[in-house]
Amino acid sequence: MNIARKLGLRALTLFGVLVAVLVLLVVSLGATGYSDKLLSAQLNEELRGFRQAQAETIRDPAQLEEAVAQRQTELEAFYGLDESWWSRMPSQIWNVLTLDLGDARSLRTADGSSKISDIVLERLPYTMLLLTTASVITAIIGLIVGVRMATRVGSKLDRGVAYFAAISFAVPAWWLGILFILIFAFRLELLPAGGMYGVPPPEDRFDRWLDLAKHAILPVSTLVLVSVGPYIYSVRTMTVTTAMEDHVQLARAKGLSEGYINRRHILRVAAAPIVTGLILGLAGSLGGSILTETVFNWRGMGRLYYDAIVGTPDEGVIVALTFLFTLIYLLARFLLDILYVVLDPRVRY
């Protein structure tokens, strides 16, 4: 049962990361006074509702003020505004965990809800769609091209991809997106410049999916192009390194066919480190997706960041987004860790 122990340890580390990030979020909110601001905004909102409700039953203005003031002290105690921010930390961490961050200033969901959790969760599937599609395509291209390159080290293709990898490391995803919009949407008018559906969105369910796919072509290709270069290169290097090991020489000496050696002796062994390459690329594609969504007006969580920053900044939304992005990242890493353990028998014993 060593796998369970290994994965448990890993899960513990990642949970530690999550807690560390949560503490960082809450401490920086508290120390800069943002948490007070957020809570008092919520409090004032409730107080206004209370005053309106009471104004219908209490006619005497002085009595009304008294009732409101009493309610205010109650609420302040309830929200912990009468204490210092660090004594509120545990409850605040809980608030972030449950996305209980009150209402957004001006952002709304499609149905008009202003609850931050509603807004963020509405955007979540779109980000996942973009991110997983791009990652899967990158992994497939990387594996096919990388293994093929490994069989002809030093060829023109090999060198070409090496330069491509170096350049794509230096190209910001969002700038490539801008370039794509200029070329494919503005000059050639082939594909939509942004958004997720045409205006008006198609009625038919199938047509809607088709429309979404059409709008996803540019953002997905942007994400794939910036991450595929380094990934191909790492797959190639892993495969080449494995191909030079003794057990492969032995397999050749035994007269096994090249195809069989490739599948059973090289790829099977290189599989685990190749997954590592995917793990390392994950942080990059996550960051890339935030900016790519912004450029293409893809209404996922990344674009929400931009919407929450420009104009009247919305702290609650930004906290929720930062937490959710961290969570997605950690979950994805854990999934890849499981895959790693499954692929590499050495980890098991």
Binding site: A20, S28, F186, R187, L286
Partner: protein, 498 residues
């Protein structure tokens, strides 16, 4: 790689140069030779030298308040055409109109009208192409008068004989208690946008009615005044009237001693400068050049701080061991597992968009990789003979760490340091693009952001969004190439693979 390989084997040591090599010797000449012998090293160094050259030029010639004041003050860019393409697009674009500017200090003619003096500041304009200017403006600077306030009249003399009154400017008279000579428009020169003037609209309409009756269906509007002034009416639009125009700024002064310091005229085109302008008329070429020292600053400061932090923690962790080691390693574990961009966005948003905050946050997240690497090198060095000998001689821990361990890992650290630089440049650009850049320091990322936010992308202002991105990539690439070449210096086994 075998991290414990002693340095004598790693670094080329020039025997004739340094005599007996010891562990701490790092031959600069040898390293340099390896560096420039590789393709990536040569190109990287060349790009780096060009960037430093441009930075020095910018630092010595730009005003010190360029970023905080000049760049963000629309007034200073008012005389430039807005969203103008680069000048060299005129090579293939026949509709390109070059901006013409002229500043006159002395009047062309001085006349007398009764007791008053008349000063004519004449500025010739050649309309050579079939395209119209985008605007016409004049700026009056420094009027000094003694008695009655002078009146300034702006007229356009057209090749078809038309004398179009464009604007009348009555200089504000002396206030009570103000002594002669009275000074006006010295601190804030008076800029008149002639193509937005009601006077101009009425007089060109009158001229058309008189000279080309019936050639135009609708009255001239302010919106196409720039075409009307330099064209003749044709049914629904205008066709350019080519020939020589004169813009005459006339000062009618009651006293012959009254004076005017300068008249600056602008015939606004639709192309400007090497790199065009943005929607505020800012010269993008200047902004792009200004980005070089900023990018280098961001890259070097982040790289140096992150490397110093990462390497010291690595040496400390590897050499001391025990609890210190565990704590540092757990911390490195956590920090290296954090998704950087979301946290970067959050922290910069909460603390404030300030360049030093951005740099500090970048440093805080970029040390773990180096710490883990350096620790593993130090671990194998610790059990080496050199350290053992030093310990036997009674050297202190601090002395062993700084004198015997550090010099051996130093070359690796330098190579890693350069690797950290492009990441810093890209991170700053990403933050700026999300609107979290330091507003007092224009960077390439911020230029892109303003282009994106104002929708330059969707109307095809490519000169506004492509060059900043290219410069970001080129700068990041220069550091990457340099780092690749440095790796070959510190790891000889890589030298055959270039």
């Amino acid at each position: 790689m075998e991290l414990g390989t002693p340095l004598e084997q790693i670094v080329t040591v020039d025997e004739t140069d340094t005599g007996v090599p010891d562990a701490g010797t790092f031959s600069l000449r040898g390293a340099w030779r390896v560096l420039i012998s590789s393709w990536s090293g040569r190109v990287g160094l060349l790009m780096f030298a060009i960037m430093i050259g441009i930075s020095i030029y910018v630092l010595t010639t730009y005003p010190s308040d360029f970023g905080s004041q000049l760049w963000s003050s629309p007034k200073d860019w008012a005389d430039n055409p807005k969203t103008a393409a680069p000048k060299w697009t005129a090579l293939w674009d026949e509709n390109a109109v070059e901006t013409q500017t002229g500043t006159l200090h002395e009047p062309a003619t001085t006349g007398e009208r009764g007791p008053a003096a008349v000063y004519d500041y004449d500025w010739p304009i050649a309309q050579t192409s079939g395209a119209f200017p985008t605007f016409l403006s004049t700026t009056i600077e420094g009027v000094r008068f003694n008695g009655r306030a002078p009146v300034i009249v702006v007229t356009l003399l057209r090749p078809d004989g038309g004398e179009i009154r464009l604007a009348n400017l009555a200089v504000p008279a002396a206030r009570t208690g103000e002594d002669a000579p009275v000074e006006r428009y010295f601190d804030t020169p008076e800029r008149i946008l002639l193509t937005q003037s009601d006077t101009a609209q009425q007089s060109i309409q009158a001229w058309f009615d008189q000279t080309y009756p019936g050639d135009r269906d609708t009255p001239v509007t302010i919106a196409d005044l720039n075409k009307a002034l330099f064209g003749i009416p044709t049914g629904t639009g205008f066709s350019a009237l080519q020939g020589d125009y004169t813009l005459r700024v006339q000062m009618l002064a009651a006293d012959p001693d009254d004076s005017l310091q300068a008249v600056s005229n602008v015939y606004g085109g639709n192309v400007y400068g090497w790199m065009g302008t943005d929607s505020l008329g800012r010269n993008l070429w200047q902004g792009l050049l200004y980005g070089f020292p900023i990018a280098l600053l961001i890259a070097t400061v982040t790289a140096i701080l992150a490397t110093v932090l990462g390497a010291s923690l690595g040496i400390l962790s590897g050499y001391t061991g025990g609890l210190t080691d565990s704590v540092i390693q757990r911390a490195a574990d956590i920090v290296s597992n954090v998704p950087i961009l979301p946290l970067l966005i959050f922290l910069v948003f909460i603390i404030g968009p300030n360049l030093s905050v951005i740099l500090l946050v970048l440093v805080a997240f970029s040390w773990p990789g180096l710490t883990i690497l350096v620790r593993s090198m130090v671990l194998s060095l610790r059990s080496g003979q050199l350290v053992e000998a030093a310990q036997a001689m009674g050297a202190s821990r601090w002395r062993i760490m700084s004198r015997h361990v550090f010099p051996q890992v130093a070359p690796f650290i330098v190579a890693q340091m350069i690797f950290a630089a492009p990441a810093a440049i890209l991170a700053e650009a990403s933050l700026s693009f999300l609107g979290l850049g330091d507003p007092s320091i224009p960077t390439w990322g911020q230029m892109l952001e303003s282009g994106f936010r104002t929708g330059a992308l969707y109307v095809g202002y490519w000169w506004w969004v492509i060059p900043p991105g290219v410069l970001i990539i080129v700068t990041a690439l220069a550091f990457t190439l340099l780092a690749l070449a440095m790796e070959q210096v510190v790891d000889p086994r890589l030298r055959d693979q270039r």
